[in-house]
């Protein structure tokens, strides 16, 4: 086998590998990107011939979006797109070499930003932190690129030593990125609730935004700033209503609209720059406002979901507890019935000299059989409803309690009750999280109710609830919920854990009964530890999770 054959085989293999590396889908995206980039660049060139001073470098925003979304494998496409666009609409005086070096500057700075951002995934524009990270990276990348480009222009181009040139170029690049990149990255991931109300609202907002732009258009040459702040109104409206997605879309529409309005290069450059700078400030404000709204919505939704889940479980275990209570109430008479009938049968058999009448005995047998059938029906019913025993897993007790307290916090604030938590750090319990939260909520709610009743009667203000927990011997964790209310009436104490016994006008009397059921299902105990005026405490135990083995692992 000759050496040349081997070499050509290796060459063919490498080619095949390269071809396989470029997937058809990625290739199509790259081509579409190049075309779109050229179009955007061309539009920019129509507004201002010198690349760094265009009103918002939208092509650059597109490039950064593609690099963040698809990774650095799209870097060649960006390079090709930029060089091709430069050839289509060349920057005067820079020459082919200068423009190519400028394209390299774009690649290095934007790829750097994209690489840094991608280490933690696509930035989350719906959180302040994610947005700040993105804008920080974008600002630095734009600044480096602007400095590089202005240095090039100074060397080869028509520019004098203009100190403000870097600032102007940076504004243009940063604005393009701030407007286009979030819009492209956020919109495709957005699954909007297509309710007619939302669609109608979006349409009205688009109309108002367009109207505001039309109003300021005739003033673009004489004084474009006088009514500039008109744009804030629809923008804020959109951001508040639709969050980060709305802000990104609003910014993009505004930029697109203004580009359309400015589509003639007959304006002074300085005016354009001033205008752009205001635009950038507005754009960033809207992004932050939008992400704050989104973040808040997200938190609210999570809270709502948890509340719903808790309500669902609460309903289920309420049903279970009712079934259990009913079962107990019915099983008692059934037990007595069976025992009485069997006793009668035995007495008949013992005292009667003659054998007892077969029919009588049979009737009694049937009575017992029916009573037992009733018992088994009750048993089936109870098994059917279940006890709501969720899966148990090791949990951090402090976190479980904190989540439960989130749900009763508003009620505590309303009642003016201070809640103090003294839970030892790192207490791990093996529990059904939702069940334990329900116990916590029940106990805190009871404490709250008694404090509230006392406050309403004017006896005292400034109630206090203290939640504490510590590990006890025998692998248990003991939790205490204490309040400084009036304590429980002796009568209430006697029937404390009985279902359907409540001393509250609106209570069903299942809270403590359900809670005890949950705690006992965990193999723990729930009891009234203390009750006197100024101090009422319930305690319960939970199984500790074996955290030691976890730490060793």
């Amino acid at each position: 086998m000759s050496l040349s054959v081997v070499r050509s085989r290796i060459g063919a293999g490498l080619l095949q590998e390269a071809a396989a590396a470029v997937r058809p889908r990625a290739l199509a995206i790259a081509l579409a990107f190049i075309a779109l980039y050229a179009v955007l660049d061309r539009i920019g060139a129509m507004l201002a011939p010198v690349a760094p001073f265009r009103p918002g470098d939208m092509a650059g925003g597109l490039a950064l979006a593609v690099l963040i979304w698809g990774g650095l494998r799209y870097a060649p496409a960006v390079l090709i797109a930029d060089i091709a666009s430069d050839l289509l609409s060349p920057t005067p005086g820079l020459g082919v070499v200068g423009m190519s070096v400028s394209s390299l500057g774009l690649i290095v700075t934007y790829c750097g930003a994209a690489w840094w951002l991608r280490r933690t995934g696509v930035p989350d524009f719906m959180s302040q932190r994610g947005l700040a990270r993105f804008l920080g990276a974008a600002a630095i990348a734009s600044l480096l690129r602007a400095g590089f480009d202005i240095a090039l222009l100074n060397k080869w181009g028509p520019l004098g030593n203009d100190a403000s040139a870097v600032a102007r170029a940076w504004t243009s690049y940063f604005l393009g990125v701030a407007v286009v990149t979030p819009f492209l990255l956020v919109t495709p991931r957005f699954r909007p609730p297509y309710q007619s109300g939302n669609v109608l609202m979006a349409a009205i907002q688009a109309l108002v935004l367009t109207g505001a732009m039309v109003v300021i258009m005739p003033l673009r040459l004489s004084d474009p700033f006088r009514y500039f702040y008109l744009l804030f109104l629809p923008q804020i409206w959109i951001a508040v209503r639709f969050g980060a997605v709305g802000a990104a879309a609003g910014n993009f529409s505004m930029q697109a609209g203004l580009v359309f309005l400015f589509l003639s290069p007959d304006h002074p450059t300085v005016t354009l720059f001033n205008f752009q700078f205001r635009l950038l400030a507005m754009c960033l404000s809207m992004l932050f406002l939008g992400s704050a709204v989104s973040e808040r919505n997200r938190v609210e939704e999570a809270l709502r979901n948890r509340q719903e889940e808790l309500a669902r479980v609460s309903r289920l275990s309420l049903a279970g507890e009712m079934a259990a209570a009913l079962a107990h109430e019915l099983n008692q008479p059934l037990t007595a019935t069976v025992a009485f009938v069997r006793t009668a049968q035995r007495l008949l058999a013992r005292e009667g000299k003659a054998a007892p009448d077969a029919k009588t005995v049979d009737a009694m047998d049937q009575a017992v059989e029916q009573a037992e059938r009733a018992g088994s029906i009750i048993r089936t019913l109870r098994g059917f409803i279940g006890k709501g025993d969720g899966a148990r897993a090791p949990r951090d007790l402090a976190a479980v309690v904190a989540q439960a307290m989130d749900l009763v916090h508003p009620a505590c604030v309303r009642a003016g009750v201070r809640v103090e938590r003294a839970i030892d750090k790192g207490l791990q319990v093996q529990v059904d999280e939702v069940g334990v939260q329900q116990v916590m909520i029940n106990l805190v709610q009871n404490a709250l109710d008694s404090l509230e009743a006392e406050r309403r009667s004017g006896t005292r203000a400034g109630g206090e609830i203290v939640i504490s927990a510590s590990a006890t011997e025998g692998g248990q964790v003991e939790v205490e919920v204490r309040d400084n209310g009036p304590g429980l009436a002796p009568l209430a104490q006697a029937h404390l854990f009985q279902p359907f016994a409540s001393d509250k006008p609106s209570g069903m009397g299942l809270g403590l009964s359900v809670s005890r059921g949950i705690v006992e299902a965990h193999g723990g105990k729930l009891w009234l530890a203390e009750s006197r005026p100024g101090r009422c405490a319930f305690r319960f135990t939970l199984p500790a999770a074996r955290s030691r083995s976890k730490r060793a692992a």
Partner: protein
Amino acid sequence: MSVHPLIHVVDDEAPVRTALVMLAESAGHHAQAHASAEDFLKNAGQGASGCVVADVRMPGMSGLELQTEMKRRGMELPMIVITGHGDVAMAVQALKAGALGFLEKPFDDDVFLASVSEALEAFDRHDRERRAMADVEARVDALTQREREIMTLIAQGLSNREAARDLSISVRTVENHRARVMEKMQAKNLSDLVRMVLRLEDASAH
């Protein structure tokens, strides 16, 4: 001494405890009803005999708590726990704590009576053992110090000669003591004696 073993029925509901007492009596047992665990502890006292049938969930002291309280007071009555809740967790807990049985309400008479009989037998067996033990202990008390030493050595399997060497006394003396030990302990033979000593050691180990 001729007190009948009693079945103590502890349930907060009157019809249930009445019915169970009547059922037990119809089968020839002696039974007594108690309205609560506290009542039972007050009425029955330390020397109670028989067994306890108690509901798990009662206002006041629960069946499980009664179980621990009885253990604390040294009342060695076998316990059968009954419940209308069908709580598996509680059943396991009760059985772990030493309950003899667990019945789910409603139950038929044969189940109930079989459990009760078993409990009474268990009590009887324990009672007899306790009495035999008390007997043996009384006999040991009647031994002198030296006789006790010799009994211990012999039970360990030492011959008369070895025991004599151990205690530095004559073989003759050992033989005399040994005869008196057998007599006082009412042991038919050596293995009988060894069994008694082992049982005593067992009891003191517990």
